[in-house]
Symmetry: C2
Amino acid sequence: MVAHRPSTTICRFCAARPRGLCKDMQTEAEFETLQVLQYRTRSFRAGTQIYGPHDVKTHVYNITSGWVSLCHELPDGHRQISQFLTTGGLIGYRPVGQAFNGEIATALDEVTVCAVPSQHLSALLERQLSLNRRLIWMLGRDGLVTSHRLACVGQSKALTRVAYLLLELLIMTTGHTGHGDGTTVQLPLTQSHIADATGLTAIHVNRMVKQLRQDAIVDFHSSTLKVLNYSSLKQAAQVSQDVKEAWIIQSVPAPQSGGATA
Amino acid sequence: MVAHRPSTTICRFCAARPRGLCKDMQTEAEFETLQVLQYRTRSFRAGTQIYGPHDVKTHVYNITSGWVSLCHELPDGHRQISQFLTTGGLIGYRPVGQAFNGEIATALDEVTVCAVPSQHLSALLERQLSLNRRLIWMLGRDGLVTSHRLACVGQSKALTRVAYLLLELLIMTTGHTGHGDGTTVQLPLTQSHIADATGLTAIHVNRMVKQLRQDAIVDFHSSTLKVLNYSSLKQAAQVSQDVKEAWIIQSVPAPQSGGATA
DNA sequence: CGTGTGTTTGACATACCTCAAAGTCTGTGG
DNA sequence: CCACAGACTTTGAGGTATGTCAAACACACG
């Protein structure tokens, strides 16, 4: 009953860039509304800061290509990367009334985003239910992913933490969970990034990476991740199937109405 | 322009229980709709499980009194508490299409909740923008709080982690950040809970609690938290003002419309 | 009075960090 | 083509924060 676009857009703001994401897009009418708005695409070079911890966030960004890290900096200089994101990820949203969220968004490689003024987003949210659905889904997913990572960092040994992160990045990149051996993916990360994300030192990450290589599980080498034994990796990472599904950005189906017909 | 209720309800579903939260409630019309629905209040005794990791979540719960923990259990038996929640907190929401979120919700003391069938929530979301706003705000906040906790657990020493958690619980309870010395609050927690939340062992938590007491910072003793030196606590916890604001559940103002008037 | 749960303490083990330095790779400029 | 600098990786030796194990203590509850 709802007329969908040919399901080729990944950004529901600028409606640009075909790829098989976000089929939940919008109705014809909504789509046209968005097209009229024509939000700007912006690019950031590798290593560039997209926004800082104390920037007033004027925009929300939908990533259309490249990798971004979200990082917290503590007073003592330590850093914690809370999330890596790639195509389809939404960054820069902050709860209304919250001055800052304290995180730094950094482009890890060449990144393009669709920039939506926060004001516009608020206004759009008042009129487009599909957008509300989508935002709710994204925020729910991000919270879930973060809390699982918290469980990993809080309770697991170093080897498991590294394996967990590598598996997460693998699945984020390939977009499916049942992937076999021999897969190779490019990740714009150094061992220091892995250290910041896992709560370890780069030196210890190196030892773990070395061990994963020796145990013929994965080979992470100069930004290249090669899966040597996928089932061993799953085992080393100690993740359940549920978690892996949350790592994949999916489309959100329109709800079949029912209940609450007061 | 929007007619607000006398700002005495804390649950926008059953519209029950006066207390000064959630003034953002709803318009007259919305309020009446909800009243008609009359969602059920449920109670859970201390230690009871509200839902398990593999329950199909039929309901979303809005906490109207008591304390709840959200906990992940890892294959190796370790547990990570990702969040403590109290009055006003929303639990049991999961992203559409996500089978399970793997978390266990446990009542820490006598807990009452307003139970909303997930089906109804979906339907209500399709019709009430204020509810969308509220859910988006809650999810955004929860994600923020969790990512800050991740930064703490990943990068801080044991003493800081414990101080951080105690400060968080203090602020959640009192509802304001600038609180002075001598404050005493009841928390239905054991040192084991703190251990599970901070990623430490209960034994080591005990050592840290002891040190905080000896350093005259806080005294946590048989479910009672007493602040001896608030500014020392802030310092020990290493939190910025931004983070503390995120710990307080606030009302969400209706947006002043503007922009995107395509 | 006994039982169970939570707290406290001590001795010891170890996973991870810190410091130091060498080794690799890549890009740059002569 | 070579020399050099800079970023990243790798390795080793030693220190320390935290975990593990064991046991006593305190307190509530039946």
